[in-house]
């Protein structure tokens, strides 16, 4: 019964979405206030209905209602409650429900916080949101109904893929979708601005918080996915340039560019039509990501659906959304008035460089990810693009960007002085040299590229800090004066510093992986294996019983010299229901380095393959990502960006001098 109510709510939501995508738009064109405000009530109502449908699906999972096909195929009564709930989005239909739920959440948020938007803009934004909602609700109802009943109802379900039964992966999709779908708001604002033919600083101030929020969620989502790959897959890698990883990385890159170019629109009224284009591209890449992952055109762990009808529908949706918005852009963008002028060496110039490099990097990844698909479809040879391609391209495109990250914020708007900026960065330069030399010393020569990357991370970190020191006039004014300045710096300033520091931390973590130590040994109980100054001692391998699996569990004592550092327990789990085995790695971290153990196969003679890695600085990769996201959140809490403030008058010139 509840499942039918959920289905019914979805149909109502679709009807409302149709209403929302047409009436406010016509109202805005005809200046009919009542029609315009309809968008806000339908957005909220749509959210309530989709939330009800989503709750109905969760209810079916929690109560293990196996008469619902989706629950039968993806759940099992023995599963822990957490995974019953997170299992809702561990499959195609459920994950599309999550997509639409988040979309309607953002739609309702725009309606709630949109009190002081000009009514016509608000109506158009919500209408575009309604169109996206129509597309995806239609997709669910026509091709992937999560409430389909089975008669007669089976006794128990098939269970969730054991690999997905993991806390890290359980919350990876919601964050990723918050990011993907969050960019839909920037998209809707861009399309609405194109329809209106007007982009100004107020528009940018409206778009930036939404973009920032989506970007933070996407950063966390990508980091979670990579962290999950690191600790589950059992060979210590954390990024594989897998098509699906690329699918989430492309919107992140372009979204990052959008974040930065929106600043230029807000502060300098320039780069307007470029920013609009970026907003369209960011969401388009999110849609492409959804298409790549969900249509099954690229085989991967993530590809649930291999139903050609779904692929076709998403492809059509993609054509309408991307083709439509880009056509609108081509038609209307020339009407946008060009804004302020600036010299190539200026804050704007630096941000343009940032944008160019980020979008080119995204384009290269796009090409590398889709090239095999094109080759296959056009009857060419079957091939894949090797990971070295992405490594090379990325290294060369992003190196200049990372050098510039430290310089850009020190340049003045409009016309900057590069020499003066560089003079202020002498400390950062010195730090980079020191970090490089230290790296060289520790590594005893070592891979030169990794040393350079590490030095670059040092440069960026010190660059971000010296920029802050410059703002508060540290050591040049009295400490009290510096403290006063530090307190009065806008939060957005701290957000930027934190995010740039996070990038440096992540980069250091990536660079240091060149110095990892690896051992793959067959160990009998009682054997010792040395790694990076530690000694691993295998005590035993025992059989253990879990709630829905059995496991072989190794007991390893880690010693440094004579003292015991840790007991580690890598496992190999076997899930009888799915006839699958997965590994559970054991990781001992001190935040400077990870000791990573994975249990392999038994050799049948009492010995076990044990894979061990010592990975310096690897936790920094994710710590840095969290810092970047936190930087976004801090920036989001800035009073000037807070959602209600946007429509108020511009802050007086004096208060903005700190920028």
């Amino acid at each position: 019964m509840i499942a039918e109510l959920g289905h019914f709510a979805l149909i109502l939501a679709l009807l409302l979405a149709l209403l929302q995508s047409s009436v406010p738009l016509i109202g805005a064109a005809r200046r009919n206030y009542a029609w315009m405000t309809l968008g806000r009530s339908t957005a909220v109502a749509q959210f309530v209905l989709v939330a009800a449908a989503f709750a109905a699906l969760i209810h079916a999972y929690v109560t293990s209602d196996f008469s619902v096909q989706n629950v039968f195929e993806n759940s099992h009564s023995d599963k822990p409650l957490l995974y019953k709930i997170t299992g809702v989005w561990g499959n195609h239909e459920g994950s599309m429900m999550l997509w639409v739920f988040i979309l309607s959440l953002f739609g309702a948020a725009v309606a709630w916080f949109g009190d002081n938007l000009p009514p016509a803009l608000s109506a158009r934004v919500l209408a575009v949101q309604g169109m996206i909602g129509t597309g995806f609700l239609g997709f669910i109802l026509l091709t992937s109904d999560p409430f389909h009943r089975l008669v007669p109802a089976p006794l128990d379900g098939r269970g969730l893929n054991p690999v997905l039964q993991d806390p890290g992966l359980a919350f990876h999709p919601p964050f990723l979708y918050l990011g993907y779908v969050g960019f839909s708001v920037a998209f809707s604002f861009a399309v609405a601005a194109l329809i209106e033919g007007r982009v100004d600083a107020a528009w940018a101030r409206w778009v930036r918080p939404w973009t920032l929020a989506a970007w933070c969620a996407l950063t966390i989502g990508i980091a979670m996915g990579s962290w999950w790959a690191y600790y589950t897959l059992g060979w210590g890698g954390w990024w594989f340039w897998d098509p699906v990883e690329n699918a989430s990385f492309m919107p992140w890159l372009v979204g990052t560019a959008l974040l930065h170019s929106a600043i230029v629109v807000e502060k300098r009224d320039a780069l307007k039509s470029w920013t609009i284009l970026l907003a369209i591209l960011t969401f388009s890449l999110s849609l492409v990501g959804t298409f790549l992952v969900r249509s099954g055109v690229l085989t991967s762990v993530h590809a649930f659906a291999v139903d050609p009808r779904r692929g076709l529908y998403i492809l059509l949706l993609l054509l309408v959304a991307i083709g439509g918005s880009l056509s609108l852009y081509a038609w209307r963008a020339p009407a946008l008035k060009a804004g302020g002028l600036f010299a190539p060496i200026s804050r704007e110039g630096a941000l343009v460089l940032n944008n160019l490099l980020l979008t080119v990097a995204a384009a290269a990844i796009f090409w590398g990810t889709l090239y095999p698909l094109f080759s296959d479809q056009l009857g060419g040879p079957k091939l894949t693009v090797g990971a070295p391609f992405f490594d090379i391209v990325f290294r060369w495109l992003l190196a200049p960007l990372l050098v510039a990250v430290a310089v850009g914020p020190l340049l003045a708007w409009k016309r900057g002085d590069l020499l003066a900026a560089l003079q202020r960065l002498w400390a950062a330069l010195a730090a980079a040299v020191v970090v490089g030399l230290v790296g060289l010393y520790i590594a005893g020569g070592g891979p030169i590229l990794a040393v350079l990357t590490l030095a670059l991370a040092g440069w960026m970190a010190l660059g971000a800090l010296s920029e802050w020191a410059e703002r508060v006039r540290l050591f040049r004014a009295s400490l009290a004066e510096s403290g006063r300045r530090a307190r009065h710096l806008p939060r957005a300033q701290y957000g930027m510093t934190l995010a740039h520091l996070g990038l440096a931390v992540t980069l250091a973590g990536i660079a240091a992986s060149a110095w990892q130590d690896e051992r793959i040994e067959i160990m009998n109980p009682g054997d010792d294996v040395p790694i990076a100054g530690y000694t691993l001692h295998l005590n035993s391998v025992d059989k253990v019983q879990g709630p829905n699996f059995t496991a072989e569990r190794a007991d390893v004592t880690v010693r440094k010299g004579d003292s015991v550092v840790a007991e580690m327990h890598p496992e190999k789990r076997f899930f009888p229901l799915q006839q699958m085995s997965t590994g559970v790695t054991a990781i001992k971290t001190n935040l400077l380095a990870d000791l990573y153990l994975a249990l392999g196969d038994s050799d049948g003679k009492g010995g076990w393959t044990v894979r061990a890695w010592w990975k310096p600085l690897v936790p920094w990769i994710w710590i840095g990502a969290v810092m970047m996201a936190l930087g976004g959140v801090v920036s989001l809490s800035d009073r000037r960006l807070r959602l209600g403030v946007a429509a108020r008058a511009r802050v007086p010139r004096g208060a903005r001098a700190a920028e």
Binding site: V301, E521, D601
Partner: protein, 157 residues
């Protein structure tokens, strides 16, 4: 400098950068394309030595041998008609077993043995790499909707 002239220079510089980037990307792409071969493709057309390639198929029954060092594994990949011998040193994926569809990435040595750098077997019991399915279809060992012949009756761990 006039506004027009300045814009022209900016556009030219931008185009130049894009050109350099495009050249870089395309040349990097050409060097890093990894072509897919089935064992029958190699038999029929041969495959370049010393270039990174993918070979896909099923792990042949009773072909997996662990060498005494505990790290090196020898096995054969079959598409039902032909086989290719593979030597791999490193951690095998959890789902690696005889009869399972896999893709091995590596270079062929002078004896036609694939020296693999990595072996992919994805995390799903129903999963079969698309390339492998197509290769099996081409060699006539795959029926639509059916299970591949070598996988039938396979012992599950």
């Amino acid at each position: 400098m006039t506004r027009k002239r300045r814009r022209l220079i900016a556009v030219l510089v931008g185009m130049g950068c894009l050109g350099v980037a495009a050249t870089l990307v395309l040349s990097a792409l050409r060097d890093n394309l990894v072509f897919f071969y089935s064992p029958s493709d190699i038999k029929a057309k041969g495959a370049p030595q010393g270039r990174l390639l993918h070979i896909g198929g099923l792990v042949e029954q009773a072909s997996v041998e662990h060498e005494p060092d505990g790290k090196t594994v020898d096995f054969r990949i079959t598409d039902g008609s032909n086989t290719v011998a593979v030597v791999f040193r490193g951690p095998l994926p959890d789902l690696f077993r005889e009869g399972q569809g896999v893709i091995a990435e590596g270079k062929l040595d002078g004896n036609g043995v694939l020296r693999a750098d990595s072996v992919l077997a994805k995390h799903d019991e129903n999963y079969m790499p698309r390339e492998v399915v197509n290769a099996l279809k081409r060699s006539g060992h795959w029926q639509e909707g059916g299970t591949p012949p070598t996988a039938v009756g396979q012992a599950k761990p």
